[in-house]
Each structure stands twice: as C-alpha cells, then as structure tokens.
Symmetry: D3
Subunit: 208 residues, 6 copies
C-alpha cells in the first residue's frame, strides 16, 4: 500500500484516511492490500467505527476463513456461495459482486456467481449444495420458520451440526453485512467484477 | 451464580456446560449473572462457538452499551426500542421479549414494549423516535432502498451522522441476531417477561 | 362507574358522552365498568353508532362468552388466544393488548400473550392449540384457500364441526374488529397492559 | 317460498332445513324469498348458528340498508361497490357475485361489477367514488395504516364523518363476511350471475 | 365495417384511423368486424405499430385458434379459461372481460368467466381443468419455479407435452398481452360484457 | 455451422435436430451461428413450435433490432438494459445471462450487467436510464398500475411516445420470454457468460 493510494471510496458517512486509522486497522488493511492488490471498499467504509470494524472482521474471519473441520464440512467456496445467494435476495450489490468474485475463484468456475445471483436452482451445483442454499434462503428470509424438518433435510445430505450452524451463521452475518452496505451506499471495487472470469489463469491470492 | 444453576437451555445445537467454557466466556457470563440475577439464554446458546461469541458480544457492546456521545444522540433506551421493533418484523421471540424488558426499564414505561412489538406507530413515543423507527424498519426490510431522502428526514429530526449510523448498525446487528435465534430455536428466559412491568419498583440492574 | 369518570377516549369520530347514550348501551357499559373497574375503550368508540354497537356486542358475546358445549370444545382462554394471534397479523394494538390481557388471565399464564403476539409457534401451548392457531391464521390471511385437508387436520386433533366453526367465526369477527380499531384509531386502556402479569394474584373479574 | 323449495345448499357445516329454524329466522328468510324469488345461500349457511345469524343480519342491515342521511352521503349502490371491490381482494366468490348483482341493479350499470372486481381504477365511476374505493382497499388490506391524510383526502371529496365511518365499517363487516364464506365454502346462487345484466329491463326487487 | 364506424378508442398512444393502416392490417380488422359485429379495441390500439401488430396476432392465432391436435388436447374454451385466470392475477380488465366473453361462449356457461376471474378453485370445472389452471398460475406468477413435479401432476391428469407447452405458452403470451393493455390503458369494448350471458341464445360468431 | 455441431440443448420438450427444421428456421439459425459463432439455445428450444418461433423472432426483431428513430430514442444497448433488469425480477437465468452479455457489449461496459441484475439503482447509468428502468419495473411487476404520472416522469427525461411504447413493449415481450424460459427450463449457452467482460477487446459480432 505504499506508493499507490486507492481511489476515493463512496460512503454516506466519513471515510477516514488510512493514515488516521488505529494501528491495528491499518495493519489489517495493509495486509489485505498486499495480498489482493487493492483494498476492498468494505474495509475503508467500516473503518468509520474502529471498534465495530474489529468485531465485524473477527466475526467474518471466524465464519469464512476456516477449512472444513472434518471431511464433508463446508468448503471455503461453499461459504462464499451462501453469501452470493442470500445477498442477492437482499439486492446487495457489494456482497454479490465481491463474494461472487471469490466464489468464482474458490470453485474455479467462471459462471457460478452469475448463476447463483440470478437463480441458484439452475446453477452448476450438487444436490447437497442446493439443499445448503435452500436452507440459507430460509434463514435469510424467515429464520423464525426454521424447523426440525429443515434440519433433517440437511442431515440427509450429510451435513452435521457444525455444518448447519455454519450455513445459518454465515447467512445471519451477511444479513447484517448487506444492511450495512445498504446503509452506507457502499459500492464494490471495480477489480471484483473481472476476477475469476478466466478459468485457465493461475489462481490469484485474495482477501474478502 | 454460585449455588443456583440456571435451568437447561433450549437450542438445536449442543449447549456447553458453564464449567467447560473458556475462561473469558465464563467470566463474562458470571458478570452478567451477578448483575441480572440470571444468565440470558443467548449467552449459553452462542457459547457453542467461543470465537463467534467473542465477536458477537464485542459488536453488541460497541453498539448498545454506550451513552450518547453528544446531547441529542441515541439514548440506551432508544437503542433498545430499535431492537424491539425490528425484531418484531422478523418474529424473533427472544429479542422482542428480552430487549422489550430492557426497553421498559430504560424508558421507565411498562407499556412501551407491547406497543412497539405490535404497532410502533401507535406507541407513546416522540415524532423524532417515530422517524428513527421508520428508518430502522426500512433498513430491516430493504436496506438497498435506503436513499438520501431517508437520511434527510432523519436530519430534519436532529439526528446527525453518528446517530444515523447507530440506528442502521443496530438494526443490521439484530438482523443477524434474530436469524441466529431462529436457527438455534432459542427462547427467552422467563425472567424477562415480568421485568419492568411495575413502574414504581426500583430500577433493576440488567444485562442484555 | 359512579364517582370516577373514565379519561377521554381517543377516536377519529365523535365519542358520545355516556349520559347521551341510549339506555341499553349505558346499562351494558355500566355493567362492564362494574365488573372490570373501567370501561374498555371499544365500548365508548363504537357507541357512535348505537345500532351497530348492539349487533357488534351481540355477535361478540355469541362467539366469545360461551363455555365449551362438549368436553373438548374451545375454552374461553383458547378463544382469546385466537384473537391475540390473528390481531397480531393485522397489527391491531387494541385487540392484541386487550385480549392479550384476557388470555393471560383465562390461561393463568403471564407470558402467553407476548408469545402469541410475536411468534405463536414458540408459545407454551399444546399441539392441538397450535393446529387451532394455524387454522385461524389461514382464515385471517386467505380464507378462500381453506380446504378439506385443513379441516381434516383439525379433526385429527379432536376438533368437531362446532369447534371448527368457532375458530373460523372468531377469526372472522376479529378481522372486522381489527379494521374498526384501525379506522377509528382506537387505543387500549392502560389497565389492560398490566392485567394478568402476576400469576399468583387472585383472578380479576373482567369484560372484553 | 311455498311450493318451490330452494336446491340443496353447499356448506362444510350442517345446513338446517328451513322448517327446523327458529321462527324469526324462518320469517326473515321467507321475506327475502318473497322479494327476491329465491333464498340467497348466505341465509341458509349462517342459519347453522341462529344467534350469530341474528347479529350478522342486524349488523348487515344497519350498514347496507339505509338511504344517505344527508345529501352527499353514500348511496345504496356505492355501499355495494365497496363490497365488490374489497371482496375481490379476498377472492370471495360469494360476495363478489351476489353483491356484484346488487351493484349492477342499484347503479343501473350492467358492466360495473366486472370492472370493480377486476380493476376498479378503470371502472365507470366518479373521482369521488374512486377515492372511496381506495380508502376501502386500505381498510381491507392494512387498516392499522389508516392515517389522517387518508381521511383528509376523503374530506376533500366531500365525505363527512358519517360517510367515512360507513366506508370503513362496511369494509370491516365484509372482511368478516368474506372469511365466513371461505370457512363454509359457500357458493353464490346461480340467479345472481344473470341479475342486472340487461339495463333496459325493469328493476327487480332484491335482497342481499 | 362499411357504414358504421367504431367509437373512439382509448389509448395512451396515437390510434391510427383505419383508413391509414397498411392493407394487411385493415383486411384483418375488417374480417374481425365482419364476424363479430365490432372491432375489439386491441386491434385498434396495437395498430400503432404495424410490425408488432403482425407478430402479435400471428402468435395469438398460433396459440389460441387451433383445435386440439389429438383427443384430450386443450379445447378452444380451455385456452380462454387460461387467459381469464392469469389475466385476473394481473388485474387486466381488457383481457378478463374480452376473453371472459369468449370463454362463456366456447364453454356455453354464462357463469364461468365470473368464477374464473374471482376464484377459479370454486369454478364449475373438472379436476383436470383445475390442474391446468394451477399450472398456468405458477407460470404467470413465478415461472422460474416450474419443476418436474409440476409437469408430472399435469401428466397424471392426461396432459401430454403438446398440451403442457400450450398451457405454458398461452400464459406467457398473455403475460405480454396484459402488460401491453396496462401500458396503453386499453379498455374492453362494451359489447364483450354482455356476450355469452344467455345460455339459450344461438352461439354468436366471435373473434378474440 | 458446418463442421462443429452445438452441444445438446436442455429443454423439458423435444428439441428438433437442425436438419429437421423448416427451411426458414434453419436459415435463420445458420445466420445467427455464422455471426455469433454459436447458436443461442433459445433458437433451438423454441423450434419445437415453428409457427410460434416465427412470431416470436419477428416480434423480437421489431422491438430489439432497430436503431433509434430520432436522436434521443432508445439505443440498442438501452433496450438490452431493460431486458436484464426485468428478467432479473423474474429470476430468468437465460435472459439475464444472454442479454447481459449483449448489454455489456453494446454499452462497452464489462460491469454493467452484474449491476443491472442485482441492483440497477446503483448501476453506472444516467438519471434518464434510471427513470427508464423504473418504468420498466413497474410494467413488469404491475402494469395495471401504470398511470399518467409515470408517463409524465418519462417525458420529463426527454422520452417521447415512441420511446415509452418501446420501453413498455420490450418489458412486455420479455415477460413472455422469461416465462417460456421457465416453462422449458432453458439454460444460457456457456459462451454468453464471458462475452463483453474485456472492455479493450474488439467488439464481437453477436445475435441475441
């Protein structure tokens, strides 16, 4: 992040300059920029509130950045698929585009994000992933209606308690995220749109 | 919390015994029990995932437990009002009942929570609070529709950027919370229902 | 009703003074005040139209004030439960609060009304009562969709024709009631909020 | 009603034979049959519960069978228009067809009912009647949202308190009626479909 | 169409005089007028765009004006039934009234259109026709949700691929038609309202 | 289309081999393949019904393949934008992906389709285009609600009668198209996903 500064970032609230941020926020942002080549706008916009920024990304990392604990657990790509589908329900442009990019890369499928965002029931996914996304949509749309039958259907597809919690909690976290993006009028960085469109290119490093 | 143990807590996921929790979680829970006289079920249910527990309550405290920064900022009672109204939209029994109790106590109004949960437009609130809740409902229901006119309306009622962020971020956080409660099938503790119904009683200490 | 007059009653239409009412209306209202200790606002607001008042309360009493004809019929408490749940669908503050009070008292459960109003599927009720309320919601929301399968499900829970008519007709009557409350902007009397919150207190006499 | 008995009447509940009815019900039904030439099914189906029958028709008559109190008040035809439009929202076949017949006759317009049932905004009505029907739809769909601006709009069209109450109360009464029809699976008599289709024919006598 | 000219036709766009139309359009319109005795407004309103007019009616005729290919295929009356039901979903007055008239005539049932437009589940139709209309409603409301189970249900009622395509394609075509009517504010000709109401009259010739 | 045959095409109905098609259909398809390098699936799936195929594409070409008649008229790119936005409402994967590709190419903006499909209010478009898309959404969702104020708003942005008809008619046509895609379970060709993603590449020739 030394020479090249990111372009101005759109928000309805003040976006603090990187140099004014607390050290831990700036370090986190520098690390992201180092890996991805740019600073995703969510880091800049949420830095308006450092304490909330810390909790947000601690939560995010706990849910999104872990490999499956056991064979059969949710892959990182599947976690991103949940984000794309439920964010599309909420018409959250930031999350659909940013996490759509990551989903394409993780799943090495350049068409996946467009399918998930428009009609996941017709996407190139497994029946197990379809069940996962059906459940995520229920949590996104009317979580109070979740019942034991819904969990049994997931278990029939081989999901265990850890997986089911992950599906539900990721959906819940992005219910929050989508609303913060709407509140702040955050837009995705231009870089996200093109990422993962070329299946043959070497897999880029990425954050968020 | 020494002699008397809380009753078994309902969840669709394992609820770890208090003694098995990491020290920081147990200390936080003990402190709550000390102040409130009981352990709100959300602490027990979310302890299934300690890392997420830490992020959840760090986020919660950053949003809910601060006094207004400036005269005119959101009071603690108003923050609770936002939770009750938006949780009612999501039919989240835990949050409506638990935060309804806190709202009654903070606002010293035993009728407030019932009004907010059923029809906040007829509650005993100020026009400024009505505008606050209208905005919270918009963020809860379709955050992508928030626009500058909505913010101007809040500003006309004296809300500044800090306040508007608070209203939106509290709503976003409980969009997550409500979904976690639906996922886990969490129920409010019985104690919450009766709290704050007697306007003349001394104000109880409380957490969450 | 002798010394203490009720406070002014809110309505969008003229509220006739008690002394100006036809004798039969005034006698009915005096009897209610005698039993309950106050005059529920619905009596004052609907007195604007004496002929409609008479039909309204004749209908109300035919549906709500009868003991079960046979063992297994709807109890008075169950009738009130239907009112609370379907009035919450319509966001009718008057009916949720006034009938919530009666439901708490009839069922001797201080938590029941809050549960029913927010998410009846998580209330402390029997599977039979849950089926009753599912059916009431269907009648409240799309009565033209009621079909024989719905009635068979009720019959599986032991409801007979008399009971099913009662569930449906009570729901229908309060579909009207809720709309009259919205039309007139009627508010519940403050007394209702506190009634039935103390399970150990002697059961108060009440009307509506 | 002497020689010719009405055909069997469809209901999900027992339909008592005319001869078994209490005298006052039978007399009311005979009077209707005398005037209309047939017994509208609602009379037969609701006779299952004589006490509720009496309250229902007392209420109905109070709302529907009165001439405008003052010049400018709702005509009988306008009252029927409200019933057709709000019953169409609820997809109530009985009320749309039966009251559509009466609306055609009262307004001497053979096309009116079809217009009102499908899209009242394109019906052959006055701007005042359009405002009346807009308000009725609001009461039918979300009465808790009625506010002072809505009433002011009605007043701008010359409606006074008496009229506004009538619009709202008729809508409320048929919110009940529509649900009773759905509950019982009541069908309109065949006679209703053809009534009032011939503008030049002498105006028939009718009930309901 | 020689002596008597049709009355002025309502549209939000210019309605070209018949004499100014290209020959093929005028000939088609003359043929319709010859058969029906009047020119349905849709012909006049869509003539604003001759090229689109040609495609529209070519499409219409391909879907609506064919006899069943095999015994068991959709009758012309059943095709009209689909139009009435799905146009009622879209509150399209033109299509409900114009095709309602044709449905009455084709099915020789003067009550059918009113039933279909208000609540087709209570219409005088066969279980096979009910399944046909359920499927049409699904295509009208959320075609992306159509799945194999829906088709299997149709096959259980004896529909084959040709029939299923017909049901879906007719629904799709009138999804377009209904929107064109809304766009142009087209109204049905008065003649349509009365057609087919007299079951005993000789069957009139008709177009659209 | 000589050596390389397209891959098998998914449909719920028979997909006739190219060699079995009537000459005019095969010629049209060959011309498309020649220009685009592949045969868009819609041509193969709709060929099941040659007569409807002809009407469909005649209609399509009349609406989509014309340059603006006058300066200020809808560009070809704007026509595609309408398709993407309204097809996203209907969750039509085929139309969002296929016409999204064309929109990217026509507008030379590789990010446009993703923005339009998820939240067109945040897309890189002009206020005039935003008004155009707002109107298209109204026609797509409830065309019977279109009124004069809506047209005046378009006129304020410089749209004339020709343009307004185009916006409405394109929306209406794709309301049909989207439903045919859902009926047949048509999927977009893989080629569409990648088209127009590289802004610097020479503009490809394309059809549909």
């Amino acid at each position: 992040m030394s020479e090249k500064r990111p372009p101005p970032v759109r928000s309805r609230f003040p976006v603090p300059p990187l140099d004014d941020l607390p050290d831990d926020l700036r370090e986190r942002i520098d690390a992201v920029a180092e890996k991805s080549g740019f600073v995703p706008n969510v880091f800049r916009v949420l830095a308006y509130r450092p304490e909330e920024f810390r909790a947000f990304f601690a939560y995010h990392d706990a849910l999104m950045d872990k490999a499956p604990r056991l064979p059969g657990g949710l892959t990182k790509g599947e976690r991103e698929m949940i984000v794309v589908v439920t964010s599309a329900i909420n018409r959250c442009l930031y999350c659909v585009v940013a996490h759509g990019a990551v989903a394409r890369i993780r799943e090495r499928n350049p068409r996946l994000a467009d399918q998930l965002a428009t009609d996941y029931t017709r996407a190139d996914i497994t029946p197990r992933q379809l069940a996962m996304l059906d459940f995520a949509c229920l949590v996104a749309e009317q979580a109070s209606d979740v019942n034991e039958d819904d969990l049994d259907e997931l278990r029939d597809h081989g999901f265990n308690d850890e997986d089911i919690w992950d599906i539900g909690a990721i959906t819940a976290f992005f219910a929050m995220s989508n609303r913060l993006a709407g509140l702040t009028d955050m837009l995705p960085n231009e870089e996200f749109y093109a990422m993962g469109r070329e299946p043959s290119k070497p897999r880029p490093r990425l954050v968020k």
